[in-house]
């Protein structure tokens, strides 16, 4: 993987660590910029006013307190699906099953949240924990197939995503359906619904659940022995074996925790996102959040704290896109194009230095020169 986790070794000084952070931040800004520029070119080519569109995007996402609250509400599940992807990526796996794990988590959240009678905070906690467990269970077959049969996780997780989608459609219409409203499930009980942060806006306490999980993942990755094993597994699986650890266990733990994050994302979309508090049959209130998490993780550099900020960026894009559609008439899906371009731009971190080499030797790549002189010393 070219986005090698942990570019700076633990022994490297703060100076080189700062330099690595600056390089990675500039790559992130560049990729996001390329995404927005290509978006503008696309809008121009298809006859939309890109300036008006981006103005609306900004107004919708950060223009007032409600815009900011909606941005944070959109960021809430993205933090979680991003974390799920990032954790597996750090361990060297491409787990793109967050979509399915999230769907299963949402189904369990509806089932538990609509039937469980419990005092206020306890009920919410039970809903979140059961959804997390369900997401983890839905994630595990992929890691077992990878470990025991060598099947690539990209294939298995996508298949599980589709199976989860059809399972959800069946359950929403036939088992959990609300007799008063055919297109959605029954609503969860008022006791398990999370309160709004700003009256009349979509952001709820679920935001803090996401941030808590991000902090937990940060602790896990860099301050726990399991996290160390996961990161080593991503860098060099053989080394882990020689060190006496069990690589198989690290794989299962990784997939399990990725599933936990995605499962919680499903739960917060049900109990922490007004005004629905139920799951629609077309799964529209889950959207493509599982896949959006990939872009979030890549832009967040697969670091839990970076992911929180990246999720706010993408949350702003999706919130602003609604205003963009209303004010400039640009279809919502424009933003998905930006997503895709950003991911592709993140695929080739060396592009810049290679281009610089082609453009002319009179502009020597400073980063390379600095790196070389340090190794000589």
């Amino acid at each position: 993987m070219s986005l090698s986790p942990g570019k700076s070794t633990p022994t490297a000084g703060w100076r080189s660590r700062m330099r690595a952070a600056a390089t990675s931040l500039s790559q992130v800004v560049l990729a996001a910029g390329i995404g927005l520029i290509i978006g503008a070119i696309m809008m121009n080519a298809t006859g939309y006013d890109w300036k008006e569109a981006y103005q609306a995007l900004w107004l919708g996402s950060f223009g007032d307190i409600w815009g900011i609250a909606d941005t944070l509400a959109d960021a809430t599940p993205l933090i979680l699906t991003g974390l799920g992807f990032a954790l597996s990526f750090r361990a060297g796996y491409f787990n793109i099953g967050a979509q399915g794990q999230m769907i299963i988590g949402a189904l369990v959240a509806v089932a538990v949240g609509s039937s469980l009678v419990a005092p206020k905070p306890l009920g919410m906690i039970v809903v979140i924990l059961t959804a997390a467990a369900a997401g983890a269970l839905w994630s595990l077959p992929a890691s077992f197939l990878r470990v025991t049969r060598g099947v690539h996780e990209v294939i298995t997780t996508i298949m599980f995503n589709w199976i989860a989608t059809y399972l959800a459609r069946y359950l929403v219409f036939n088992v959990m359906n609300d007799p008063r409203s055919a297109e959605r499930t029954v609503r969860v009980l008022p006791e398990v619904r999370m309160g709004a942060l700003v009256a009349g806006a979509d952001a709820t306490w679920a935001l803090f659940v996401s941030v808590f999980v991000a902090l937990f993942f940060y602790w896990l990755l860099w301050h726990s022995p399991w996290g160390f094993e996961m990161r080593v597994a991503g860098l060099n699986r053989e080394a882990l074996r020689y060190a006496g650890a069990n690589p198989t266990w690290a794989v299962h733990l990784t997939f399990l925790l990725s599933g936990v994050a995605a499962g919680i994302a499903g739960a917060t979309q049900i109990i922490g996102r007004p005004p629905t508090f139920a799951l629609y049959g077309d799964l529209s209130n889950l959207g493509e959040l599982g896949f959006d998490g990939i872009a979030v993780a890549l832009i967040g550099r697969n670091h839990p704290i970076g992911i929180v900020f990246a999720a706010i960026f993408f949350g702003a894009l999706s919130t602003g896109a609604r205003m963009m559609q209303i004010m400039a008439g640009v279809p919502l899906d424009m933003i998905r194009i930006v997503h895709g371009v950003v991911i592709i731009a993140m695929a080739a971190p060396e592009t810049w230095s290679i281009l610089r080499r082609y453009i002319g030797s009179r502009v020597p790549a400073r980063a390379n020169a600095a790196g070389a002189s340090r190794t000589e010393r």
């Binding site: 070219s2 696309m42 049969r149 896949f291 424009m334 998905r336 695929a347 080739a348 060396e350 592009t351």
Partner: protein
């Protein structure tokens, strides 16, 4: 009646899987993996309809192929010349493809999510005793045979093998690793583009934002199943095609959907893919340099 429609549906469902898998097999022989097949299928399905509505079904097929080839070329440039990560680029193509088609549907036809392809721009079918059959069934089989020949019995095939197994040695022997891989990237893109065009202007006769419905990934599973042998891509395509077709036929039958909900029938191709991939893998061997960018020392 049910029997013949099952066979016709299986053959029709085989085409996109076999054609897409065949192209990707050639690409993976050179060590280049593109998991963006799903995105290529979608975008080229859309582009093919735009082309077909302007100049007829054959133009549509051509436009679809060129669109796929272009995306393959971009993936190739990013991963070969800029040493980008093949998996990330592929995922990016999938996300971009979904966005482009959803956006394009609104922009081109002013409809969100669905466009019916007019009858006169669809590919004409051949009448057979079993029912009307798409000529693309024969094209798919011919492409698999052609690719098998190309890989195993030509000079270029030998170069591809060398580049996939040991790029440094191939480079030393005077083979351009970059060019051979770029050929693989474009070939895989073009074939996926043809398969995408087939989805929209032939078999399914619609454009939707989820037209490909995971078939790009089922094709990738078929690549794994085939052990990089294009002849087995025909077999794999038929297995998946049978269940894909079965789902289409059975979900319209009231007697069956009363017993088994149609959502479970629609799950079949994905469950079967999982089962087949689980049962088969282990004996497949992939090129040593698969998935890794080549850099000259």
């Amino acid at each position: 009646m049910l029997f013949s429609s099952l066979i016709i549906n299986a053959l029709h469902a085989m085409v996109p899987i076999t054609v897409t898998a065949t192209g990707e097999i050639l690409s993976e022989r050179t060590g280049l993996v593109n998991i963006g097949m799903e995105g290529i299928l979608l975008v080229s399905a859309f582009a093919a309809v735009v082309g077909a509505e302007a100049g007829g079904p054959l133009v549509g097929l051509l436009v679809g192929m060129l669109t796929g080839a272009l995306i393959g070329l971009i993936h190739g440039i990013i991963t070969i010349y800029f040493r980008g990560d093949q998996t990330i680029s592929g995922v990016g193509i999938n996300v971009l493809g979904a966005g482009l088609v959803a956006f394009g549907l609104v922009w081109q036809w002013g409809q969100a999510g669905f466009h019916q392809v007019p009858r006169d721009v669809r590919l004409p079918h051949i009448a057979t005793p079993l029912g009307s059959l798409s000529p693309m069934v024969f094209v798919a089989i011919a492409l698999a045979l052609l690719t098998y020949y190309l890989i195993n019995y030509t000079n270029l095939g030998l170069k591809m093998k060398a580049v996939g197994e040991n790029p440094a040695a191939a480079d030393a022997a005077g083979v351009s690793v970059e060019r051979v891989r770029l050929f693989g990237a474009i070939y895989a893109g073009a074939l996926a583009g043809l398969a995408g065009a087939y989805l929209s202007i032939d078999w399914l006769a619609t454009v939707t934002r989820s037209l490909s419905a995971g078939r790009g990934f089922i094709a990738l599973a078929t690549v794994v199943f085939s052990g990089l042998n294009p002849l087995l891509a025909i077999v794999g395509g038929l297995i998946f095609g049978f269940f894909d077709g079965l789902a289409l036929v059975v979900s319209t039958s009231r007697e069956i959907t009363r017993v088994i909900p149609y959502q479970f029938i629609q799950m079949l191709p994905y469950v079967v893919t999982l089962l087949v991939v689980t049962g088969v893998i282990g004996r497949a061997r992939f090129p040593k340099a698969s998935g890794q960018p080549y850099r000259r020392e």
